[in-house]
């Protein structure tokens, strides 16, 4: 299952509550706080080589939904969803994620919260994000408020990239085109990336459509016997018509970064 990124920064909650205002605006967030339409979030102390590097607060993505409910005037529902977000943030999945984020250098923790994995980041970080996303989806599935018809999520994998659009395909085969700049803003603009589109209804025929990073929460490779190693699995060597087009040109020279001599 492909799920929207499960953690967010404050800005996204503000934009869900007041689309179009500056995401850094203080007043909308204070309003959310005052009414209990947003959780406290999770504070991470960041360290760098020379000691403390500041603090960062991140939130369960359920808060975005709470903010939308508040915008639509459904205050009781917004409060309830914000409480669900707070429960999630107090759980073990967030505790592990918080601990891992606090160990990241420089601004990498902020990048992770916004959907990017650092190239040299620990594998456990991916697992932690996946665990939070999985728990979030469980909560959403169990709560009727969280499957509001006013909010439609289309999550999938980017199958093709052209100069203006990416083709986003769901597991069951349905697909949609997304402007390349939207996918790029979510830092998901390459073939194979996971992306989610969230259509947030404004009125009868209009909506705010947001592109957000996504993650595959079913880590089940090997369940069907696939192994990338050895000569036994023909899938590592079989190619599609699209691959044929990709490979049809003249191969470029190999790139060798470090001069190396091999014995023998």
């Amino acid at each position: 299952m492909i799920a929207a990124w499960p953690v967010v920064v404050r800005d996204r909650i503000v934009q869900a509550f007041k689309p179009g205002v500056s995401p850094a605006a203080e007043a909308p967030f204070r309003t959310l706080r005052r009414h209990g339409w947003v959780s406290q979030g999770v504070r991470v102390t960041l360290f760098a080589d020379r000691g403390l590097a500041g603090q960062m607060t991140f939130f369960s993505s359920l808060n975005v939904m709470a903010a939308r409910l508040a915008r639509r005037g459904n205050a009781p529902a917004a409060e309830r969803v914000a409480r669900a977000a707070a429960d999630l943030e107090a759980g073990p999945e967030f505790a592990i994620l918080r601990s891992l984020l606090s160990e990241l250098p420089d601004r990498e923790a902020e990048q992770v919260v916004s959907g990017q994995f650092p190239e040299d980041g620990p594998a456990a970080l991916t697992e932690a994000i996946r665990a939070v996303a999985s728990r979030t989806e469980q909560v959403r599935a169990n709560d009727i408020l969280l499957s509001s018809p006013a909010e439609v999520v289309f999550a999938g994998r980017i199958a093709e990239v052209s100069d203006r659009f990416v083709l986003l395909v769901q597991g069951k085969g349905t697909a949609t085109m997304v402007p390349l700049w939207m996918a790029g803003a979510a830092r998901r603009d390459r073939a194979g990336d996971f992306l989610a589109l969230v259509a947030d209804q404004l009125d009868g025929a209009s909506a705010v459509v947001e592109a957000v990073p996504a993650i595959d929460i079913d880590d089940t490779p090997g369940a069907d016997g696939f192994s990338p190693f050895g000569r036994g699995d023909a899938r590592t060597r079989s190619i599609t018509a699209e691959d044929v087009r990709l490979l049809a040109g003249e191969p470029q020279s190999l790139r060798i970064l470090v001069p190396v001599t091999i014995e023998g």
Binding site: E119, I239, A241, G249, P251, Q252, V258, P259, I262, E263
Partner: protein, 177 residues
């Protein structure tokens, strides 16, 4: 031959024991554990399978000048085939593993251990006789960001179809004919 702080040599069947102790994974992470398992248990048989000579399988071991095995890599010639019968000769990077204590580390001269190992692989691919096709690809778990970054740095920048939903297949680029 010795580089600034390393030397690379081809593996031999006698390296089975050495490979059996090579640690490169957090074994709690399944896709990491399978890399380590392949190197420790299967790689020697893969490299020296007498029925696989046609693919010219190559096993490379990278050592520090102090003699520590810091990297293991293997590659071979394969044929990529489409349903319509179209084929492309290519080289598959079978495995590239950096020892745990060398992951993310550089030599005193500034080269990353992973770049030295990957450069050895590309050098070896480029020097095979008969010559290998310059199409080089790797199958990498989508969560293996570190390996994907190494592949990108070494020119595996194009994305082919996935052989499995959780595994990406990256390949060196091509010019228009």
């Amino acid at each position: 031959m010795t580089g600034a702080g390393w030397h690379i040599r081809p593996g031999s069947p006698a390296d089975r024991e050495l490979l059996a102790s090579f640690a490169c994974a957090d074994t709690a992470v399944r896709w990491q554990a399978e890399v380590e398992h392949f190197i420790q248990v299967q790689l020697t048989d893969w490299a020296f399978d007498p029925h696989a000579d046609a693919g010219d399988p190559r096993l490379l071991l990278a050592f520090t000048t102090a003699g520590d095995l810091f990297g293991v890599a293997a590659h071979e010639r394969v044929i990529l085939q489409a349903r319509d019968g179209t084929i492309f000769p290519a080289t598959k990077l079978e495995v590239v593993g950096v020892a745990l204590k060398w992951q993310g580390r550089c030599f005193a001269t500034g080269e990353r251990a992973s770049d030295v190992l990957m450069s050895a692989v590309m050098t070896d691919v480029g020097s095979r006789v008969p010559p290998r096709d310059a199409r080089v690809y790797a199958v990498v778990h989508e969560d293996n960001h570190r390996s994907l970054a190494v592949c990108r740095r070494h020119g595996l920048t194009e994305e082919m179809s996935r052989p499995h939903p959780s595994y990406r297949r990256v390949v060196t680029p091509h010019k228009e004919r």
